[in-house]
Amino acid sequence: MEADSDVALDILITNVVCVFRTRCHLNLRKIALEGANVIYKRDVGKVLMKLRKPRITATIWSSGKVICTGATSEEEAKFGARRLARSLQKLGFQVIFTDFKVVNVLAVCNMPFEIRLPEFTKNNRPHASYEPELHPAVCYRIKTLRATLQIFSTGSITVTGPNVKAVASAVEQIYPFVFESRK
């Protein structure tokens, strides 16, 4: 943690994925016809609706389940989801906004130093896995947080986790290990 306070690491959240349910059956065809920003994928049975204001792409199923991706923060995700529900309401469906849950958060972080990946993998055996033939980054999984980090040799780290807090704590956790194997 001390090391963390020395360097102000910017953790940029690039994507937040959330789900919610409308508790009512949605007629995809109607949405497709009357929505201005809608792609209807009939073969898989879903409708893609894109909002501009919080830049969000939502996948809507006829069962009423909706997945929202593309938001840059949790609040924005919720806001976008509500807007989406509102627009569905306007189209005439009896929409109830329930079960909102943030499912996945993707963030990017940059370390000011490079990292020796083979050394890092050796020191963190069970959690880290490195296959240079397949992917140039080390894949480090933290089971307790259910977070996965991809650590590149340039020092940039991509973190995915169930919420923003988990992501932040994952970065904090990994910092000392990464610091050990720095160049």
Partner: protein, 663 residues
């Protein structure tokens, strides 16, 4: 022997088949009718490892065994098949088979193609042994996407808790060097390439890169150093990377200071300094460019500031030089124009303070300048009264000027302040979680824009129809087909398979009848020792046994009787579960088992009455114990003791041994 075959060329029917060469030749004209004849004989060939495995044999191995044993045997065969193609030695293959057994016991083969799992096991062995085999080789052999294999491999390594040591590109060098055919100098070129690789490692070129790419680059340079002309294409074919990758590695190496050394120098000297990884330097370059851009933009802003100030001054001058109205009316016009300005300010939705101030300044300047100019102009004309008028008018004009401005500002600000306060109030209210849709902060107008009107909807519908015409066609055809089939009455609904078959409940008056009927329905299991059942049955009740004896062949009778005796004991339980539920419930009884048949037989016999007394629980200790001859018993041995199972299998299935070990 092709009986009755006639030569196509000469019509002669005397055709000689040579099994050794695999040819079928006409003795009349000598034309070859067939070559590479496939035969199903068993042949022996000598292996490079000195062993003589059989070719064409081993087809009979999988009959009549339990699923687990079959899986393992199948796996073993596939491992050997793949392993031989990769030229792995026997030790590696055995290790791979062990990995496979572990995987099967952990149910990792479920939901995955057997070939993938086997390839993953083999690759794991390659990694742990350090053989120069790449995942790419395996995927080449299997024609499978390398990433799919990689995924399986990673999963396997994780589940089996096996740490595969990281790949060293140095491992691949001898292999690739051999393929590039350097002849006598093979060793020297390899050594040079190794040195190059080590240098690359120190220069941070190897992290995150495919080892084969680095090898390729190193070998290329090494070859050139020793006067071998190997083109990029040749190297690529051997190393299996893309041309651009190779070139990129070469350029990266060029950037390092080592590239400046001559050949001799390189062999002798080792530079101390280490370089940054190439992607890092690229990133640094980007950062620098960004910083430069920022600095530039800042400078631009400064310049712009200057320019605007110049612009203002010019405008002021221009206005001053314009002809102005005289007298009292002048003030009115000025007031109007000032008020226009203020009103325009009011009209702006987001009037920033700075803008207001700047505008106010400008207006003040203009006003004052104009006033001064006017004074100077009008001084010339004279008319103190006018001056006095103007003088009197000036303060109120000022006030009027200053008056609206602050109020405009204040008005604008209060509105925004109100909004801010109101949004803050709304925010805590959002987290109601009732399920009601909270409409705060949602601009309905904007959302309305998202909804198309009728004409737009029509147009969109047409477009969509055109785009998805193919899919719609398919759907229609499918429906038409289904309708036809329905008419014809042969409509098959392809529902997902149900795992359990539902049978009619058997209605019988006695237990014996019930058993008979059940047996008729159900297929006979190979897992039960019917002999034993029959004998047991004789002790229990006589009727079922008599019925048994009258039925079919020896094996069948045995099985039937066995079944019936089992059923006899546990009428309540469905006999379907016979095979699988055997072991867990038998432990106590089996513990008493002795090695010999008779003893166990007797034991079971003794136990039989005991068993009947408690609950009608599955009791198949009898069959398991009695006939060790039956290969059948091996199947009972399941997940727990893999080691034992494999030993069993290898030894060809000695039931006794297996049973003892297991229990």
């Amino acid at each position: 022997m092709p009986g009755g075959r006639v030569c196509a060329a000469c019509g002669c029917s005397e055709i000689e088949v040579d099994a050794a060469r695999g040819d079928a030749v006409c003795t009349g004209c000598g034309s070859v009718l067939e070559d590479n004849i496939i035969v199903s004989e068993v042949q022996f060939v000598e292996n490079s490892a000195g062993k003589t495995p059989t070719l064409g044999g081993g087809f009979h191995a999988n009959l009549g065994k339990e699923s687990r044993a079959q899986t393992l045997q199948n796996g073993k065969r596939q491992i050997h098949h793949l392993g031989n193609q990769l030229q792995l030695n026997q030790h590696c293959l055995d290790t791979a088979f062990n990995f496979f057994k572990m995987a099967v016991s952990k149910h990792l083969t479920r939901g995955r193609k057997m070939t993938h799992v086997i390839a993953a096991c083999l690759y794991l062995v390659c990694r742990t042994e350090g053989t120069p085999h790449m995942l790419l080789d395996l995927s080449d052999l299997l024609q499978v996407n390398v990433y799919v294999l990689g995924k399986t491999f990673l999963l396997l390594a994780r589940e089996l808790c096996i740490n595969a040591p990281a790949i060293d590109p140095c491992l691949y060098i001898p292999r690739f060097a051999h393929m590039l055919e350097f002849g006598d100098k093979n060793h020297e070129v390899s050594m040079t390439a190794l040195r190059l690789l080590q240098r690359m490692k120190r220069d941070w070129m190897h992290t995150g890169r495919r080892p084969s790419g680095l090898c390729g680059a190193a070998l290329l340079v090494a070859a050139r150093m020793h006067d071998f002309r190997r083109t990029v294409k040749e190297v690529i074919r051997v190393v299996k990377v893309c041309e651009s990758t190779l070139r990129k590695r070469l350029t990266e190496f060029e950037d390092t200071p080592t590239s400046q050394l001559t050949i001799d120098e390189f062999m002798k000297i080792d530079l101390e300094e280490e370089c940054d990884p190439p992607s890092f330097t690229a990133g640094q370059k980007k950062l620098k460019i960004q910083q430069l851009e920022k600095a530039l933009s800042k400078k631009l802003e400064d310049f712009e500031g200057e320019i605007t100030s110049y612009q203002d001054e010019i405008e002021i001058e221009l206005e001053n030089s314009r002809p102005k109205a005289k007298g009292v009316f002048a003030n009115f016009t000025k007031d109007d124009c000032i008020e226009d300005n203020t009103s325009s300010l009011l009209g702006e939705e987001e009037a920033e303070d700075e803008e207001l101030e700047a505008a106010a300044n400008h207006l003040n300047k203009d006003f004052y300048n104009e006033l001064h100019e006017k004074d100077s102009v009008k001084k010339g004309e004279g008319g103190e009264c006018k001056n006095g008028n103007e003088a009197f008018v000036r303060p109120p004009a000022l006030e009027s000027l200053l008056g609206p401005l602050p109020t405009a500002a204040s008005l604008g600000i209060t509105e925004s302040i109100k909004e801010c306060i109101s949004t803050k109030d709304r925010e805590p209210g959002e987290n109601t979680g009732d399920g009601e849709l909270d409409l705060s902060g949602i601009d309905d107008n904007e959302i309305d824009r998202y909804i198309l009107n009728e004409t737009e909807a029509q147009i969109k519908a047409e477009l969509w129809m055109k785009e998805n015409a193919d899919y719609l066609k398919e759907q229609k055809e499918k429906e038409a087909r289904i309708a036809k089939e329905k008419e014809l009455g042969i409509y098959k609904e392809h529902k997902p398979k149900k795992s359990a078959k539902k049978r009619e409940p058997i209605q019988a008056s006695t237990a014996g009848e019930a058993i008979e009927k059940m047996l008729e329905q159900k297929k006979i299991s190979s897992k039960i020792n019917y002999n034993v059942l029959r004998d047991l049955n004789s002790k229990g009740s006589s009727t079922p046994k008599k019925e048994d004896d009258s039925t079919d062949d020896s094996t069948n009778t045995k099985k039937l009787s066995r079944r019936k005796s089992i059923a006899n004991r546990n009428i309540a339980n469905p006999v379907n579960s016979v095979g699988k539920r055997l072991r867990p419930l038998i432990s106590t009884q089996l513990a008493k088992k002795a090695a010999t048949e008779e003893v166990t037989f007797q034991n079971a016999q003794a136990e039989a009455p005991d068993i009947e007394k408690p609950a009608a629980v599955v009791v198949e200790s009898g069959p398991v114990a009695y006939n060790p001859d039956e290969e059948v018993e091996e199947e009972e041995i399941e997940d727990d003791d893999d080691h034992c199972m494999s030993a069993l299998q290898l030894m060809g299935g000695n039931g006794k041994l297996g049973c003892c070990l297991n229990y």
